[in-house]
């Protein structure tokens, strides 16, 4: 945006970009650049409801990352950050959202990891 907005005012953003984030997705983003075709990358996590998670999981799958875990119908939005960048000063103001409080039950975590990491047919690696 041209400058940081005034409170109670409307401001038109000059540009918008979206980027995949989160600790393990970031790590997977870097790993997918070097892995061999036969290697597997698996993300086990909790996701917001399917529609709202689609773009995120599509992006991960484009990188060759398999997604597994739990999709929660009661969570409308995955954790995310909005970064307001001012062209005037270069400042970055970050608003973060994490609407659900962590989530994955031990049993779900275990079964998702086990399902995706069977020693007999597994030749890659898995990152939660």
């Amino acid at each position: 945006m041209p400058h940081y907005p005034e409170e109670d005012q409307k401001l038109r953003a000059s540009n918008v970009t979206t980027r995949l984030g989160g600790n393990v997705p970031n790590t997977l983003n870097v790993l997918h650049q070097v892995v061999a075709k036969e290697d597997r990358l698996v993300l086990v996590s909790t996701f917001a409801e399917r529609d709202s998670s689609q773009r995120l999981t599509d992006k991960l799958e484009e990188m060759g990352v398999e997604v597994a875990g739990v999709w929660r119908d009661d969570c409308p939005l995955n954790p995310q950050s909005w970064i307001l960048k001012s062209e005037q000063t270069g400042s970055r103001t970050i608003v973060n959202y994490n609407g659900y409080n962590e989530i994955l039950k031990p049993q779900n975590l275990m079964s998702a990891v086990r399902k995706n990491l069977q020693p007999m047919n597994y030749s890659g690696r898995s990152l939660q």
Binding site: R19, G21, N23, V24, N26, T27, L28, N29, V30, L31, Q33, V34, V35, A36, E102, L104, K105, P106, Q107, L109, M110, V113, R114, L117, P119, Y122, G124, R125, S126, L127, Q128
Partner: protein, 165 residues
């Protein structure tokens, strides 16, 4: 070779799940990232992991006055594990049973363009160097510092390996 990495989030869930996952995949390497200082109880998970990554923030809140003291203290929980503190512009501190303390500095970055995800990049560099490039713990940490340093000098994560190597 299999590698299972956990983000250290809710200690109660991990304490329940990790030992059982570990038991069912005994041949995999297990790593844990401990980032946020307020997640009490994550240190209790150390015995179940081969590699533990600490954020600089976590170390700074640990009450220890030097990285060396901090690493010595956590090492008592699992002497055979590898411990790493990712320390931003100070590079990384590495501790393993054969190299109890090693500081790996960064090369100087002229302009910090985007530091978001530098620690996550470090982990990717370390995991891949150990698994696929056959590097030792120290060699992998050096590679990881180089990769994370490259990341800080650019927006996002594209083409990191080509630029770092």
């Amino acid at each position: 070779m299999n590698w299972v990495h956990f983000e250290g989030r809710i200690p109660e869930i991990l304490k329940d799940a990790v030992p059982r996952i570990r038991a069912s995949i005994p041949q995999a390497t297990f790593s844990l990232e401990i980032e946020k200082p307020d997640r009490h109880g994550l240190l209790d998970l150390i015995p179940f992991f081969d590699v533990i990554f600490f954020s600089h923030t976590y170390y700074l809140h640990s009450g220890h006055t030097t990285p060396n003291h901090f690493l010595d203290a956590v090492r008592e929980r699992n002497p055979s594990a590898v411990y790493i503190i990712t320390a931003g512009e100070n590079g990384a501190y590495h501790s393993s049973h054969d190299h109890p303390f090693l500081h790996i500095p960064t090369t100087k970055v002229d302009i910090v363009v985007d530091a978001t995800g530098a620690g996550d990049t470090f982990i990717a560099g370390y995991v891949w160097s150990r698994m696929a490039l056959g590097k030792s713990g120290v060699g992998a940490a050096k590679m990881a510092v180089a990769l994370a340093t490259t990341k800080v000098g650019q927006e996002g994560f594209d083409n990191l390996w080509k630029r770092a190597c």
